[in-house]
């Protein structure tokens, strides 16, 4: 069966878009998690000045719309002589925004670790850094996993905002075809389907990570 001209245009465009989306999502998710762990740890255990600084970062990036952050990065910063490519601006914005949210999950998880774990390590002669790095973070990571996974799933969907700074990803490509053919329903339903597949893949990977990190006593599948 021969596909109509519309679908012959739509599918390659969406495929091209989804590759760009993936190229946005993967570094943003990884960067976001790294920033989240670092900022979350510093907000919990850091010296007072750094703690305040990181609190400020989280407050700004959680407190302003992502669209505004992207506009500032892409359209605002050139005034200060800092130029980003559309892709660079989008990834930077996503990373910083995602990191701010992740830091909150990480902080909550760190605070939930009982003081006894900290003391147990200290009493063996661990330094404060070693205690946090080897004992507290590995436990907190398992507690934060669900929250952080949730944030990555959000990220997949808010990656659609990249097209407003002219980075042509899935939504952007779809929008171009939709306006060309004036067929919004089919196009955006297809785009939605693509996102659904992306999110399903992410959930599958997160499930695997969860199984891989599973330790008896860290809740689930336990009787």
């Amino acid at each position: 069966m021969e596909l109509s001209q519309f679908y012959q245009d739509l599918l390659p465009a969406l495929n091209k878009g989804v590759i760009m989306s993936i190229a946005l999502i993967i570094p943003s998710a990884l960067g976001g998690v790294c920033i989240g762990i670092a900022a979350g740890s510093l907000r919990t255990y850091g010296p007072k000045f750094i703690r305040k600084l990181c609190d400020g970062y989280a407050a700004v990036f959680r407190g302003t719309p992502l669209v505004i952050q992207l506009f500032v990065l892409y359209y605002g910063l050139p005034n200060l002589g800092i130029y980003f490519s559309p892709y660079g601006a989008a990834v930077t914005g996503f990373m910083l925004c995602s990191g701010a949210y992740q830091s909150e999950y990480v902080r909550g998880a760190l605070l939930s670790i009982k003081r006894g774990q900290y003391w147990g390590a200290q009493a063996l002669g661990f330094s404060s850094f070693q205690t946090v790095f080897w004992i507290i973070i590995p436990q907190a990571m398992r507690r934060a996993l669900h929250g952080c996974g949730n944030e990555i799933i959000y990220l997949i969907k808010y990656s659609s905002l990249a097209y407003i700074v002219t980075c042509m990803e899935l939504t952007g490509e779809g929008n171009t075809i939709a306006t060309e053919y004036f067929r919004f329903t089919e196009v955006f339903m297809m785009v939605g389907l693509y996102y659904l597949v992306l999110v399903s893949c992410a959930m599958l990977i997160l499930k695997k990570v969860e199984q891989w990190l599973h330790v008896p006593g860290f809740g689930h599948q336990e009787s």
Binding site: G116, Q117, W119, G120, A121, Q122, A123, L124, G125, F126, S127, Q130, W134, I135, P138, Q139, R142, V215, P216, G217, F218, E222
Partner: protein, 254 residues
């Protein structure tokens, strides 16, 4: 007793949390191979004293000396050194929940003492066998009973070759039928000549092991002496009264 060397000396420890003064100038000396038992009512400062000796809680004033060298509590390196040489056993075990019994023992050897993986595991297996858990090395804390957890905690601390062991009510969080296995391990340690300070309500440990009983109340050592002096028949000491009440509660089934 022979004239043994003094290992640990604590002088005039003060500690308060807010307006609540917990320790009001506590001093004690510990000789090599000596076993001191801390008893007294809850809130009397026993746990805080042990935590201060290991500097998990920083005392406001007072000094801690190991082999005659006063530890500079401001210097982190000296603090970490002190903690390696003075082991601590907690009431709540404080095993690392994300690590197996074996890894609980190896992690400090590897990260603090820089053992290789192979030699750390060798040492850890040895220590776990010593406390009778040679077959439980791959289990996680959640899969162990309270008594087993406490024995892993003891193995973990002993692997660091401490010169002094601080035990903070090591059997208080255990079900009655599990107390025995932990007491057996502690008695074996005592037989090997381990120097210890132990807070406990276990009458069998007090009368059986202690060379010196310290009765703590309201942040000071109210009475001290050998178990005979404090607990002998007809002695009208506060320690005696306190222990009688413990026995009345049925804890003295030794």
């Amino acid at each position: 007793m022979t004239a043994a060397k003094t290992i640990l000396e604590v002088e005039g420890l003060h500690k308060s949390f807010g307006d609540n003064t917990i320790l009001k100038g506590v001093s004690l000396t510990l000789k090599e191979g000596e076993i001191k038992v801390l008893i007294g009512p809850s809130g009397g400062g026993k746990s805080t004293l042990l935590q201060c000796i290991n500097c998990l809680v920083t005392p406001e004033s007072g000094t801690i000396s190991l082999h005659g060298n006063t530890v500079n509590l401001e210097n982190k390196k000296e603090l970490y050194q002190l903690r390696q040489r003075v082991g601590m056993i907690f009431q709540e075990f404080n095993l690392f929940d994300h690590l197996t019994a074996l890894e609980n023992v190896t992690i400090a050897l590897r990260k603090v003492k820089n053992f290789s993986k192979v030699s750390a595991e060798k040492r850890a297996r040895l220590e776990l066998e010593q406390v009778g858990l040679g077959d439980k090395t791959d289990l996680y804390p959640a899969q162990l009973s309270g008594g087993q957890k406490q024995r892993v905690a003891i193995a973990r601390t002993l692997a660091m070759d401490p010169e002094v062991l601080l035990l903070d009510e090591p059997t208080s969080a255990l079900d009655p039928e599990l107390v025995g296995e932990v007491i057996a391990v502690i008695k074996a340690l005592a037989a090997k000549g381990m120097t210890m300070i132990m807070a406990t309500h276990q009458i069998s440990l007090i009368s059986g092991l202690a060379q010196n009983v310290l009765f703590m109340e309201n942040g000071v050592i109210a009475e001290q002496g050998s178990p005979k002096e404090l607990l002998g028949a007809g002695k009208q000491t506060r320690t005696q009264g306190f222990c009688d009440r413990l026995s009345d509660l049925g804890e003295g089934g030794s």
